[in-house]
Amino acid sequence: MATTKKYWKSTAQLDESNEMVKNLEQNEFASPIPSDEFLGNDQAMEGSNTSRRDFLKYVGFSTAAASLAACEGPVIYSVPYVNQPEQIIPGMANYYATTIANGYDFASVLVKTREGRPIKIESNRDAAFRGHANARVHASVLSLYDNNRLKTPMVNGAESTWEELDNQVSAKLNQLNGKELVVLARTYSSPSMTSIISQLKDKYSNVRVVTYDTVSEDASLDAFEAKYGVRALADYDFTKAATIVSIGADFVGDWQGGGFDKGYAHSRVPNNGKMSHHIQYEANMTLSGANADKRYPVTPTEQKHILAALYSKIVGGSSSVALSDKISKSVEQTAISLKRAGSKGVLLCGIPDRDAQQLTIAINNALSSSIVDTNAPIMTRQGDRKAVESLIKDMNAGNVGAIFIAGVDPVYSYSESDAFAKALSKVALKVSFASSMNATAAKCDYVATVPHFLESWGDTEIKKGHVFLTQPTIKPIFDTRQVEETLLKWSGSNTSYKDVLKEIVISAGSNWNKSLQDGFYKSSGVVFSDDSSNVEQSKVISNASALSSLANAKKESGFELTLYTKTGLGDGSMANNPWLQELPDPITRTTWDNYVTISQADAETLGVVNENVANGALDGSYVTVSLSGVERKLPALIQPGQAVGTIGIALGYGQTAAIQEEMQTGVNAYPFYKDGISVQTVTVKDAGDTHEFACTQLQNTMMGRDIIRETDLATYISGHKDEFNPMPEVSLNHIETPVTSPDVDLWASFDRSTGHHFNMSIDLNACTGCGACVVACHAENNVPVVGKSEVRKSRDMHWLRIDRYYSSTDSFEDDEAKKDGFDGLGLFSDNGSLAGFGELEIPADNPQVAFQPVMCQHCNHAPCETVCPVAASSHGRQGQNHMAYNRCVGTRYCANNCPYKVRRFNWFLYNGNDEFDYHMNNDLGRMVINPDVTVRSRGVMEKCSLCIQMTQMTILEAKKDGRMIKDGEFATACSNACSNGAITFGDINDKESEIFKVKKQDRMYHLLEEVGTEPNVMYQVKVRNI
């Protein structure tokens, strides 16, 4: 394909008068290599006493010496313990229950340690709440081995000792002279921290605690507090939900701390012909929107109107809002659906507006929704933006004598960060409790360096009445001390923090050891009751006035920006984590970036373009986004499903302090996060230039192909399998025969009836696309990080990818109908296939979205195995397709022949290579490597092994005990990571097993069944409740 497009590498190239550029175009080097100078000097050449023969002798000798030296094997040393800890057996993993609580993610987890070194995070399935780890929590183990962590306490920017720090800070604390000591902290929700703070208050009378959430939930907190008297958030259990309506709330993602996806996924799997109905109104395309049965792209202002209309229809009260016909019809249907569901219906609202949140509570109460739990609310967000604002005022006024900043980085994450930094500089004693020299720590006199959560003690009341314990799984790697310990010391206590913690657990009537082993205990303390007596009446607003303010909300001119957090980076506290940077966004499939998401219509108006260059990579224009003096230049990515007139930007990017250069990606969007409100009205302009994205999938559609099978609930209930899940057929002697029939099989089948035969099933209904499995696979299988430029070249190494498909029309079914309507004869006619397929490539304005995790399908008739010239790929009796890395010579025939494109080639050596300066390039980062899995070298093909190291270990444990293996014992990294129950793994030869039952389901199909590869991975047809 010829192109006249001009590509340039730098802007200097565009300047035709630039001599240097011209010069470089003609010569490879700017100045000639001075070979003449060297060779032309006869005198110098003759003066040398090295003759040509001597030179050859030297070369010969050194070659011979080098090869001789290579013959000698290296001496390998082994250093055993002097005193081996009793519970450690070298080569065996130990698991400990602990809790991550970093202000953004709160979850109870199991930590796998090998020889005392944490290497993987797993979900704690024993925990009733928040016992499942998302992608960030899975990746947090790598942050433990972060080279950019501070290694000692810091005094005035220089490395120091704890003694020095304690002395200096204590001396200054004694000179407060009645000035205030402020503790600016993340949400701790920790009984022990509360007790420590009260001790601090005893010692220094004038102490104030200001809670600051980086990603604020103030609107919901205020509304909840006004209604129930507690600064907390309602909990939702979607397991039994019949109708779920969400207005702007990405509850499948990280809305209000996330963790709702487990119950949601459960309600989405058709059970006895019933599944939940999910309606989503939103501006950005979110995970929730992608999973919804009906999705309506609407602007944030329209969302307010919709909520007002819904309130009128369900609770009552008059409001006149102007909605488009389509939307008002949908609101009517939504109201009917909610009312019909009654207590099994629920409304969620992500509008960052107190009135909206109050009406949501009222609607749910009117439905008497059993999905909402206000008796035991979630305690993990308690931030108060107004308190932070008044703190800044107080700091400026000089009322604050000392400030302790713990677990937050306001100089980076506060919207008016300059104002904050300026106010901070007026405080005499500034102590930061940080693990790295982040933007705030750099502005403080002292950094009391804190350890990673895997090195810490702690307790967190995630849900009222449920306290989760954090215990160290490794001795602190660096000279660090946790906040609680330091504060105890400074308040003059000699007790260790562990003892404080122990006392609290025991006084709550729980057994210390049992609680530690479980990772949680139930606090027998005051159980929260729905009691309005402790509500401050001053905070209460009437529903009627809330309704009228919502209904009268006016759209201002400009674009409505909705700020969101990405699955990978979240609030940005783990930005220095290469696993998260490289985790593709579930929707845009973009890595290593944030950007402006914009609708196709707006892009055309602004002149913004996205195009794929020759190697398939995506380029996009830059736009300038400005909001009252803040102006940022970001790349724009055209997002199908983005509401017209809105844009979205992800928070958490653009950090530079204490972040490795490779990880300094994207643009900081926190300056747009005024007052902690995620919806702002901004102006957007085209800024020219081209940005290079690194996407792992093109922004295309499924083009009516039979990759993801979909049906609607009605067809699924009433229809036969042939209707919604037909078996592909081929013609044998002019008779249509199913492709699985042995008559049309070219291959001889092996007997796999003895021993184990592993199968995996992926339920497309339960998969929300959260990406936890991708990171878990990274950690378990030592998958390397390749970096942005390599991802752009489609050289990403993820063994497991989650494909995202859009539909070209409003739904996938319409796509198929459109494809069937093509005129087979006329290629170029109006209804011709050429133009038709071209159209099918373009996603709709509001497409349907589907996710499909794809890993090696472990075909029984694997096309990759037959083409390997060195038999590096072979089949095992247990159904796994084996890959012997040491046999592989890198012909890549197998990848060529794989219909699923799941094989990954090591283009380079990714460990110990300066070109790939990620975790595998330093000794600390390499501590995370799983010792049971080979670290692959360059020139080798690799792929999913169905975690053969895990299945083999399960088998060995059974052999050691001399017993049969129970169903559920076999697992892979991804099936363990999937708390949604989308991935089922097991032994198909065990007729009692779950996987055996799942394989018999009507919804079961194999990917590209018609190819005849007989995969051992199967999928379950996605059913939509339309």
Binding site: V75, N83, I89, G91, M92, S874, Q878, A884
Partner: protein, 448 residues
């Protein structure tokens, strides 16, 4: 005739020489044995007990905590009968706790001196038994008899003797060879003389010699022969080159010098300690585990010195001072044998790893030891005879695979295998199963 006689006499001479040599060697050996093996004669003390019976009782009851001439967990017991009254000793040995509780000043003093550790009670010992033990504890420390003859000389001459006899044999062989050569020349000359005397022409005419082609020229002219030998040479060199290349990276016989000389021969052989006692993780884990030093100290807390005979053996046979090696262990663990306490700094030992599988191969000890019931010696060889541990097996993939092909699996009594064994042996016509039948040849079982 003369020559024949001469030949005969030379042969006889050689035989006689070798005979004498061997005789002298064996005599030397016998002498050495009697010197080494001479039992140390205990010097009878003034007590009435039987020291020989006492020794047996001492070793059975007391030796784990007491030594004769050196402090261990408890005090050194040499001449303890002279330090304390006998009646008091009876009471103490039978039940020291009671004695301490009664407030006996002497008892309390000892109790406090040894860190308030209670000595076990030995109510089962009669007074006579105790007399016997005390008789044994009064035994003087035997001065090594060899020392009388100059212990240094014996130790050194032992090794010198060995190399000397070797040299003598080699020298004798060289002389015999030389004699044979001389003999041949003499025979040749004599025969020639006989021939000349009988008028037989021995030298060829010079003309005839010119016509004869030298053998190398004949070889070169015979193209077939050249071709065959070239092929042979090429094949032979290819064979050797292949052998040489295939042995690259195969470290069979690798026996590196370790930071502490540890004798498997003594521990696993003479003392019959089970392999799994020290390499305990072999039952559980993929690693057999190099034992941590606290495992060594389980025994070596009370074994600070080896037995005299073992010591001599070490010096004589291997030139190793075992006691010094034990001191190295103490240095590493920070054990103070006088104070009987861990005081010093811990210094982990950097052992040289002998068995090195490449990272690309996964091997699990537990699979073979616990599930497979394979004896350690199957792969590691006669460890109980190894003074210096070495790699016994080649540890190549071919070696693994061969064993997986040939070894019948021991599936009896393991619940895991019951079903699969039944199904598989039905499929295989009832014959014994090998690992290969269970999928033990699949790439992915060891490479992932």
């Amino acid at each position: 005739m003369i020559n024949r006689k001469l030949h005969f006499s030379a042969w006889q001479f050689l035989l006689a020489f070798v005979f004498v040599l061997l005789n002298s060697l064996s005599v030397q050996g016998q002498e050495a044995a009697t010197i080494d093996g001479e039992p140390a004669v205990p010097v009878e003390a003034s007590s009435s007990g039987d020291a020989a019976l006492g020794e047996a009782l001492f070793k059975a009851n007391c030796a784990s905590c007491h030594k004769l001439y050196k402090k261990a967990v408890g005090p050194a017991l040499f001449q303890v009968s002279q330090k304390y009254e006998r009646e008091w000793l009876y009471k103490w040995i039978k039940n020291s706790a009671k004695l301490i509780a009664s407030g006996d000043a002497q008892a309390v003093a000892i109790y406090n001196e040894y860190g308030q550790q209670n000595m076990n009670s030995f109510e089962q010992l009669s007074n006579l038994d105790i007399d016997n033990i005390l008789a044994y504890t009064d035994t003087e420390k035997p001065v090594p008899t060899a020392a009388i003859a100059g212990s240094e000389n014996v130790a050194v001459s032992g090794t010198v003797d060995m190399s000397m006899t070797n040299n003598i044999i080699l020298g004798a062989l060289a002389i015999v060879l030389l004699l044979l050569v001389v003999l041949l020349i003499v025979v040749n000359k004599t025969l020639k003389r006989f021939a000349e005397a009988n008028g037989i022409q021995t030298e060829f005419d010079e003309e005839e010699g010119e016509q004869r082609t030298p053998i190398w020229k004949a070889f070169v002219q015979n193209q077939f022969l050249v071709l065959v030998s070239a092929i042979f040479l090429l094949l032979a060199s290819a064979y050797f080159a292949y052998g040489a290349l295939m042995s690259v990276g195969v470290d069979q016989g690798y026996a590196p010098v370790q930071p502490i000389h540890y004798s498997h021969r003594i521990h696993a052989g003479a003392s019959q300690i089970d392999c799994n006692y020290c390499h305990s993780s072999a039952r559980e884990s993929k690693h057999s585990g190099i034992p941590s030093l606290n495992v060594c100290m389980n025994c070596h807390k009370s074994i600070g010195e080896v037995a005299e005979s073992t010591y001599q053996e070490g010096m004589d046979e291997y030139g190793i001072d075992y006691n010094k090696e034990i001191q190295k262990l103490y240095a590493a663990t920070g054990w103070d044998s006088d104070e009987q306490k861990f005081v010093g700094e811990e210094k982990p030992v950097r052992w040289v790893r002998i068995h090195n599988l490449p990272d690309l191969a996964y091997f699990n000890h537990a699979q073979h030891v616990t599930a497979g019931n394979i004896a350690c010696q199957t792969c590691h060889g006669p460890v109980e005879e190894m003074e210096i541990m070495y790699q016994y097996s080649p540890l190549t993939m071919g070696w693994c695979i061969n064993c997986h092909r040939e070894t019948n699996v021991d599936l009896q009594g393991n619940g895991y295998y019951e079903k699969i064994h039944k199904e598989l042996s039905e499929a295989r016509g009832g014959r014994q199963l090998t690992i290969a039948d269970l999928g033990g040849l699949e790439c992915g079982k060891c490479h992932y």
